[in-house]
């Protein structure tokens, strides 16, 4: 992993000097998720990840907010689509997951990507997300080296939103010191409804609150499409389960309920008021997350190179 010499690289002659055109709507729904996974050469089991970030969404965020040679970190990478897309874009990538199932799948996807001869520059690590990983990463010289922390909100230990946000807060607080000054964080979330009342929960605002508490500042709230738009019409490709869920919500609410066609992508960056103190202070004390004991957890390696 090459040493980054600065936050700015000289632009080639004749290059435009204005900033990037990052749209508030990300046209990431051109292909269905199945097509993206198939054409991307992902392992067949990748689609089993219930909180999978679509490869197109990961690709857009990486291309828009980083440059070749930058470092992308996903502290909760699941099946590893964010890592694979970062590698394909020529970025260094680090993926972390606390579940052995996703750890194996992410490694398989990364290995398959390399086997296809995709340009990869640098080392890729799939780390165990147990306490101590952040300390290991800091020891490895990653403090202030991450250019983009890209992840998605995953369900909590019992599938609840509060648990998911609590876990996200722990991750952000743990890995925030690794973010370089001015680095970006992108957190995507799918629309969620209350399990009983069926009203729409304001998940992005709660994510923003959690991230703010971790020393990050929201800079944009974007729409990452999961649907195709042709001639002004939106084709959601909603599965039968999604249509049934919409019908249930419709009956409960008494009004038409729209089929989901987008995820929300919250873009944040290091809070300048909190960056320097956080980098100058020692890493916060790491406590074991309040998760149920998983058999065999202690037998996993701390880290492994893929």
């Amino acid at each position: 992993m090459s040493k980054r010499t600065g936050t700015q690289r000289p632009l080639p002659a004749g290059e435009r000097s204005e900033g990037p055109v990052v749209s508030s709507v990300w046209p990431t729904g051109t292909d269905s998720l199945t097509t993206q996974l198939t054409e991307g050469g992902y392992h067949d089991a990748t689609g089993a990840d219930p909180a999978l970030m679509a490869p197109a969404i990961a690709r857009y965020a990486i291309a828009a907010l980083t440059r070749p040679g930058d470092v992308v970190l996903d502290p909760d990478c699941g099946a590893g689509t964010t890592i694979v897309e970062a590698l394909r874009a020529g970025r260094h990538a680090i993926g972390l997951t606390g579940q052995r199932r996703w750890w194996r799948l992410a490694r398989a996807n990364v290995t398959a990507t390399k086997a296809r001869g995709v340009f990869v520059d640098g080392m890729v690590l799939i780390l165990d997300r147990r306490p101590g990983t952040a300390v290991a990463a800091a020891t490895a010289g990653l403090t202030g080296r991450i250019d983009l922390l890209l992840t998605t909100l995953r369900p909590g230990p019992v599938g609840d939103l509060d648990g998911a946000l609590e876990r996200l807060h722990g991750l952000l607080a743990q890995y925030r010191p690794l973010l370089r000054p001015g680095g970006h964080v992108v957190i995507t979330s799918a629309p969620q409804r209350h399990p009983v009342r069926y009203d729409l929960l304001d998940v992005p605002s709660r994510i923003a609150a959690v991230a703010t508490a971790a020393g990050l500042a929201p800079v944009a709230r974007c729409v990452a499409l999961t649907a195709t738009v042709r001639r002004g019409r939106t084709y959601t490709r909603a599965a039968l389960a999604q249509r049934r869920a919409a019908a249930r919500s419709e009956r409960a609410l008494g009004h038409p309920v729209a089929l989901p066609a987008h995820h929300t992508a919250l873009v944040l960056r290091a809070d300048p008021d909190a960056a320097d103190p956080a980098l100058n202070q020692p890493l916060p004390a790491l406590h074991a997350p309040p998760e149920p004991h998983r058999p065999g957890r202690g037998t996993r390696p701390d880290s492994a190179a893929a």
Binding site: T7, V21, A63, R67, L201, S205, L253, A258
Partner: protein, 327 residues
């Protein structure tokens, strides 16, 4: 992403009855319920993304952007039936709006023509009204000169008082539902209220008596957007939902409305990034929050739908007969 000019939603589902143009010129536009609800076939379910970037301006409108006009039409045809009452509720001019009355249109001034859609709503067979929310008594907007006021709002738009409604003086923190001024229940009775919200001026939401304006099953549709000032996000969603949640209104849906073409595709961005030629890295240093140009081009607006929870969540067979739009 390209789009062709959009046909009017619902155009292929039904034929609207001919209306006398003289009746449309009256102050209040009320259409009788001419089509039984049971006779209307159910249309496709809407999606949470409406692509109205290429929508043309509605006939007879001067200020109303095409995407907003199309949004209003889609809202009306999707969430109401012919004969329902619709209120186009213009927000009060914020101080920022008045200061930049002649500036760019990327804020509340972009919603200035909301009331112009009243004719279109009436032609759709709904009872259409237009009103302007009352500013606070200590709002600096009240102390600005009249010429600016005239430039920012329509002279024919009535205040709430004309509709027999009044803003609530203060929110009621000890109750989820505010008291009615006269204790005689809601008097507005609108089935759908369409309004807009400047992310920098959300106070008026708490001063408006939504309980009186909406029917028990009425919907409140708020068009808003996130804004960036000095590199920091001003997202009105949390304030909006908290304020209206204390009034008993819950978020039913969040829809993104595309108002301008999307500039780049991810593939082009990726290719450019690989070549290192077309996507220069912005100054994302922590001290660059004061950068004049934000690294984001906002091309969409947010449409938040709110309503009260249905008393019985399992008994609603009439919904299957409600018309919907083709978005």
């Amino acid at each position: 992403m390209t789009s062709t000019p959009h046909p009017e939603p619902g155009r292929h589902h039904r034929r609207l009855p001919h209306r006398d143009t003289a009746s449309l010129r009256r102050g209040r536009h009320r259409a009788p319920r001419t089509t039984p609800a049971t006779a209307v076939a159910r249309g496709p379910r809407p999606a949470t993304f409406w692509s109205f970037a290429d929508a043309e301006m509605l006939p007879g409108t001067a200020l109303l952007p095409g995407w907003l006009g199309r949004t209003i039409v889609t809202l009306v045809t999707t969430y109401t039936r012919p004969g329902d009452r619709v209120l186009l509720f213009t927000p009060p001019p914020s101080p920022r709006t008045l200061q930049h009355a002649a500036g760019n249109a990327r804020s509340a001034e972009g919603y200035a023509g909301l009331a112009e859609a009243v004719w279109t709503v009436a032609r759709l067979g709904r009872g259409a009204d237009a009103a302007t929310a009352a500013p606070a008594s200590d709002d600096p907007a009240e102390h600005t000169d009249s010429s600016r006021r005239a430039a920012s709002e329509s002279g024919s738009r009535p205040r709430l008082g004309r509709l027999g409604l009044h803003p609530v003086p203060e929110p009621h923190p000890d109750s989820a539902r505010p008291r009615h001024r006269d204790g005689d229940g809601p008097r507005g009775g609108f089935d759908l209220i369409i309004t807009a919200l400047d992310p920098h001026a959300t106070d008026w939401l708490a001063r408006t008596d939504w309980d009186a304006l909406l029917t028990p099953r009425g919907l409140l549709a708020i068009v808003t957007h996130s804004d960036s000032r000095d590199g920091w996000l001003r997202d009105p969603h949390a304030a909006l939902l908290n304020t209206l949640g204390s009034r008993g209104l819950r978020c039913l849906d969040h829809i993104a409305v595309l108002a301008a073409p999307v500039p780049d595709t991810p593939d082009r961005l990726t290719t450019a990034a690989r070549m290192g030629t077309a996507v220069p890295a912005p100054d994302f240093s922590p001290r660059a929050v004061d950068a004049p140009a934000p690294p984001l081009r906002t091309v969409h607006h947010d449409l938040v739908l709110l309503g009260r929870m249905a008393p019985d969540a399992t008994d609603d067979g009439a919904l299957d007969e409600k018309e919907t739009s083709d978005v």
